[in-house]
Symmetry: C3
Subunit: 476 residues, 3 copies
Amino acid sequence: MDLKGRVLVVCLLLSAFFLSAFAVAVTLEDPELKQCKHQCKHQRGFEEWQKQQCERKCEDYIKQKREQEEQRRRWEGGGGEGGSFYIREREEFEGRGQQQQQQGDENPYFFEDQHFETRVQTEEGRVQVLQKFNERSDLLRGIENFRVGFLVTEPHAFVSPTHLDADCTPFYILNRDENERLHIVELLKTVSTPGEYEAFHSAGGQDPESFFKAFSPEVLQAAFKTDRNKLDRLFGQQRRGSIVRASKEQVQRMSQQHGHGGSEGIWPLPFHGGESSKDSFNLFKKHPSQENKFGRLFEADFKDFKQLQEFDLLVSFANITRGAMEGPFFNSRATKISVVLDGEGHFEMACPHVAKQRQQSGRSQQRQKSSPTYQKMSGDLRRGAVFVAPAGHPVTTIASRNNNLQLLCFEVNARDNIRFPLVGKNNVVSQFDRQAKELSFNVPASEVESIFNNQKDELFFEGPNEQPQHGLMHES
Amino acid sequence: MDLKGRVLVVCLLLSAFFLSAFAVAVTLEDPELKQCKHQCKHQRGFEEWQKQQCERKCEDYIKQKREQEEQRRRWEGGGGEGGSFYIREREEFEGRGQQQQQQGDENPYFFEDQHFETRVQTEEGRVQVLQKFNERSDLLRGIENFRVGFLVTEPHAFVSPTHLDADCTPFYILNRDENERLHIVELLKTVSTPGEYEAFHSAGGQDPESFFKAFSPEVLQAAFKTDRNKLDRLFGQQRRGSIVRASKEQVQRMSQQHGHGGSEGIWPLPFHGGESSKDSFNLFKKHPSQENKFGRLFEADFKDFKQLQEFDLLVSFANITRGAMEGPFFNSRATKISVVLDGEGHFEMACPHVAKQRQQSGRSQQRQKSSPTYQKMSGDLRRGAVFVAPAGHPVTTIASRNNNLQLLCFEVNARDNIRFPLVGKNNVVSQFDRQAKELSFNVPASEVESIFNNQKDELFFEGPNEQPQHGLMHES
Amino acid sequence: MDLKGRVLVVCLLLSAFFLSAFAVAVTLEDPELKQCKHQCKHQRGFEEWQKQQCERKCEDYIKQKREQEEQRRRWEGGGGEGGSFYIREREEFEGRGQQQQQQGDENPYFFEDQHFETRVQTEEGRVQVLQKFNERSDLLRGIENFRVGFLVTEPHAFVSPTHLDADCTPFYILNRDENERLHIVELLKTVSTPGEYEAFHSAGGQDPESFFKAFSPEVLQAAFKTDRNKLDRLFGQQRRGSIVRASKEQVQRMSQQHGHGGSEGIWPLPFHGGESSKDSFNLFKKHPSQENKFGRLFEADFKDFKQLQEFDLLVSFANITRGAMEGPFFNSRATKISVVLDGEGHFEMACPHVAKQRQQSGRSQQRQKSSPTYQKMSGDLRRGAVFVAPAGHPVTTIASRNNNLQLLCFEVNARDNIRFPLVGKNNVVSQFDRQAKELSFNVPASEVESIFNNQKDELFFEGPNEQPQHGLMHES
């Protein structure tokens, strides 16, 4: 399985010259189709005929989906030329949102479609930004400076020159692939107002509006040494939105100029055309830091890419084999933000804070117990979902039996962080003194050991046979 | 006076391998008795017969105290086997609390019993956590990430394996001394939610509850490759609380395994058994940084122990001779958190903020004065009290005439901090130009100098003859 | 034009021994007169006779102003000896304040007289502190730790020994010039409570009150080994305020002692008398980093002065020629705080946040646009005004046609900051690919280039011929 050539290229778009956010680009040829077929091909225990049947089903499904999308688009009156936007997906989200509201509110660590704000939506692409982490609960105040965003563009779409009031360069992006969408996941660190950032368009006209239009005409005339009429024209012609379609010729010329080849069909580059060797990092060039038949983990840290040091960040990609699971483990210092790139599954996390907050609000002046109560935080994962595991919180992620679960993870506060395994090789409990085992569990040490030493794998394990019920949170 | 062999060993339990909180262990054989007798022995000006009489009184007092404690315990129905907890001390605190409420609210820098939350209380020990520093007043928001905690265990008590969502390792603790309580003072730096942390028990069952119980049974079965019945048993047997009594044999075996000898009767160690040379630091190995007959100061900074650098912390121990005083001085950058380990006394601090806040709330639109008004912040110190001196605030601490006052101090924001003496050797005013002295005090420079050069000692001074009235704060 | 010898000396008063705030001292011989005459001398296109006429008018104006000031002072009953304070200027500010309230509230980036609190005001000088940056709006929460202050003293005035609970040394200041006021601009970084700091006077009596008076008399007697009567006298005699007049002899003796010569008439020094080579930095020793006939920029960063590194700060001085302009540009990471030292003008800045906040409060559930709306934030600049440009925000500053506009700027969060020019040499847009220009503006690339390459100057440009209307903010 060649990840690089197949579905996914993750690279950090970083400039040595301009500072940059951590953007991770993911190209999906036709993402669902490709993925669907891939799953058919690698389905364990499938005969050849089963694989082919599976692939046909994929194609049928995609065809059907396309037709539905087209229909909806027409119905909503979108799809016209420049400047008319549709918000179909947004509305769909909102519908889903209401019915899941309750779950979301009880679990401040889990984010789905309805927790994203659509900032840009044109025919050619969209930008979505996850709500502030501390908006629903104070428990994530520690990462309030960070925001997660998605940028999705159609083939040959061009994203207008933009800078942000976040730790990020001016950039513009061209998806030079003819057939595949370009998906970019961004982690932004705000630098002025914690958790707030906006886009600034230098180039642009009426839509996107150029920020130059905020200045007095007299000031602009002097600054540009250019008369008003010419400026009015320059800053008035763009009305097609901040993501537009480039012509074949425009794509070709830009590609020639920059010479960024490769079959990935990705070409997001800060406009200055920095050397990619310094400016970007391909996560898959490294050997996986963990690998077995249940999953693979690729990690990049300060040593691999010095820009990560400034953000105090570790970036990783986990591919959990369908039917398998990752963890449970916990991080000593880092808070881990996981974005689902593909597949389905769910996560479970033990949290003592939410239970405590409830106790306190319905405070029954109860006598103190000798230890806290842990509540299960869980959520159904599908593409685009985000979940957060704060430092110290034991967490496990389980792939569905149908698809590999692919996660892109940002570990914030990564310096000197240690990941403590809770089961499998080198798990924390197996390292206790025998006496400590006895005293802690109140059973013979040999019994503790027989259980904690039974699982021999590391990090990735065979998953549960039955799907646990996790739609609602259980009191544990 | 050999501090190490006598009452107190302060060591930083730090792991080079696992990150760690700053925990300071203090053993008191029978703390009050030992201390009481020691004071008798070193009472200046006592004849031999007076010393012996004094020691007998100590023993009587302790005996009486013990009986009262026993009685109260029986009356409250506590003291049964495993799993029944008494909160005697907590109730006692609360009673005291009400009557002192007013003083506390007016002085946000001073913390007593009633400002602690008891998180764990079993027959064998207890864990208490000081309220968040910024809970009563915004003035301590600068140290909102830090929490102070106390852990006290009976002889041979075992503290269950725990990790925290704070900058701290997984740890368990055994008090291997047969007779003495183990006292640990912790300074925790929270890493996720500012000022919030909880304990996570991996090993455990029903009490302490293991966090494993928050996960779905199906998930646990897969993770452990173990069937549900065995897991139910493993995570169900511990019902004795998170601090339990170890048998003599268990203590012996753990001690043999780790070989941490010494007569101190302390054996708190992260479970991985790190080398103590790297992982811990004995404050008393150093020469005192200040010493005279009125007191001694031991200090450890970045150079002594590199882990302090990460916390931007200085740790010190001050032993103020009974009847003597430390300061006044102020710190240029550091905020100093002092914990009373033993003895009695009081502190006084000059603060312009509290007075200003009051002025503003009862705002009389008064004409601006040319300088702020300083209010005395003060408090009666006894074992377990905590007080905070923010940067810039002149502070002095005075031991009672009966006992030495022993303080463990954490200076947060320690990098490049300077302690400025306000009286005695090298005091700030004595270094002014003669003209500056005249202009500042509006008296001849010689008069300023005769007063500011009169005190020749440094940092520790002979204290006041009469005890100042300080129970309530005075408007200055 | 020799800046150093003329109007302005900017030096960072920093001690290698004691930590220090960033204080910038500015001496103005008779500031307005000198400036006024200077402008006459360098007025472009003036004949010699016009220059002389211009200078005469300056003198008349200053004379008249002095008389008015004197009259008002008498009328208000101020001006008596020691201890009587006048708040004339404050009142004047407040009058002005009301009428401009509305503008101020809508523009949280702009600060005028009414946003300053007068902390000290005596015959000999005054201290003013700008309100907390985040007081009017959350948008400046990123710099809530910083405060800006002004200290102005009359000739031969002495500022009492003071320390602050901010990152700053104990200091006292003597203006040893016989004729010129001393102006100091301070940028303070608070270390305890974010944004809060107070002054602490060690030396002093009743006014300024010494903080020693907050301690109990018994404690002070012990600390000083001095009886109460003597202490009462020492801390009772100073009643003249915290800024007093030094005699000629006192000035002479202090000057001799420290040997800090120079014709600048400035002598602010931490009391310890550190070596000026390490402790202070003269911004004008460096060559300007930008210079043309429209303006000059002097900058000091970490390489010039290592203390700046700790504050993560860049300090600069911009002199914009009358009728000229600086920018527009934006900073990638730094938030820039600009203080007007002299001259008049105005600034304009594009901000998407204020408009968004209004939209949200009057939320019309509007369909999302594809880009934000930028609002012009602007303000009239005169001496003492302060404005803030957060990271990412395009900003331009325009000098009036009458006077050079002189700005002292602090760039907070300066590490790895890049200033991106938006017009003139190397402007951002001119570096785009031709195809990106076309796609962004929806006009031919040649048209974009003809406009963005027309202005050949860098940073400082010829200003607008007509003064733009900027008193009120325009919706753009």
